[in-house]
Amino acid sequence: MEISALRDLLEGEVLCGEDRLDDEIETLFASDMMSDVLACPDEIHCLLTGLINQQVIRTADMMDIGLVVFVRSKRPSEEVVEMARQRDMVIILTPCRMFTACGRLYEAGLGLR
């Protein structure tokens, strides 16, 4: 699925990385625990999380995750968005709760076993 399709499914707002909306994503990981993300042995294209601090961006960076979705309209600071921009990441803000966001994306075929 292209990132733009994910944005539409989640009624999302793109906070940075507008030029990468046609990138393809297949795998998704959802967690509020960063060491869970860091322990994932598989390639993750998209991270969904309810946390909005700097460590989310650093964790995504270490795992080469190109897309971060912040759920429940929790808006990160401009500093966090700037960190993501510098790393060429896409950030999307969605009004959906974690459960709903995961449900919609799972139905659309995204996920990790």
Binding site: D32, M34, S35, L38, N53, T59, D61, M62
Partner: protein, 144 residues
């Protein structure tokens, strides 16, 4: 390839900045054109260890040495030490503060993940003095 030696001060009082050294290490390793799987393993080890130094100890110093065959990461802190290493190595065991948990850490997954991603991990610790974690990532070897 020449031997590369890096040293970073880790500030124990600044959670927001935790991970800056790991970011810098990632940049250097990529510049050295190491395989991406090796870079991934090294930065996971470094980042989990760096976070531990900030949330469990009082910061300290990170040494990263790269030569033709391996990366050695040595993290030295001046924290409280680890009373029971076997327990600390268990997945899910954590003494992290509520603040650390609310910030996405404290699942008790870091040390086991550092061990998995390195070919060798050694923990030297003394109560009240500090902890040194040394991890080796071999270019030839698989993750353990």
């Amino acid at each position: 390839m020449d031997t590369v030696k890096l040293v970073y001060e880790i500030d124990g009082d600044n959670f927001s900045a935790a991970g800056e050294a790991s970011t810098a290490v990632k940049r250097v390793l990529k510049k050295l054109k190491l395989p991406s799987a090796i870079v991934r393993r090294a930065v996971i080890c470094m980042y989990e260890g760096e976070i531990n130094m900030v949330i469990h100890a009082d910061g300290g110093r990170a040494y990263v040495d790269v030569d033709e065959e391996k990366i050695v990461i040595r993290l030295e802190d001046r924290g409280p030490g680890i009373p029971d290493i076997d327990k600390a190595m268990q997945e899910g065991w954590s003494t992290a503060s509520a603040e650390a948990r609310n910030s996405g850490f404290g699942a008790g997954m870091g040390l086991p993940n550092m061990k998995r991603n390195s070919n060798d991990m050694k923990i030297e610790t003394e109560l009240g003095v500090g902890t040194t974690v040394t991890m080796t990532i071999l270019f030839g070897g698989e993750a353990s």
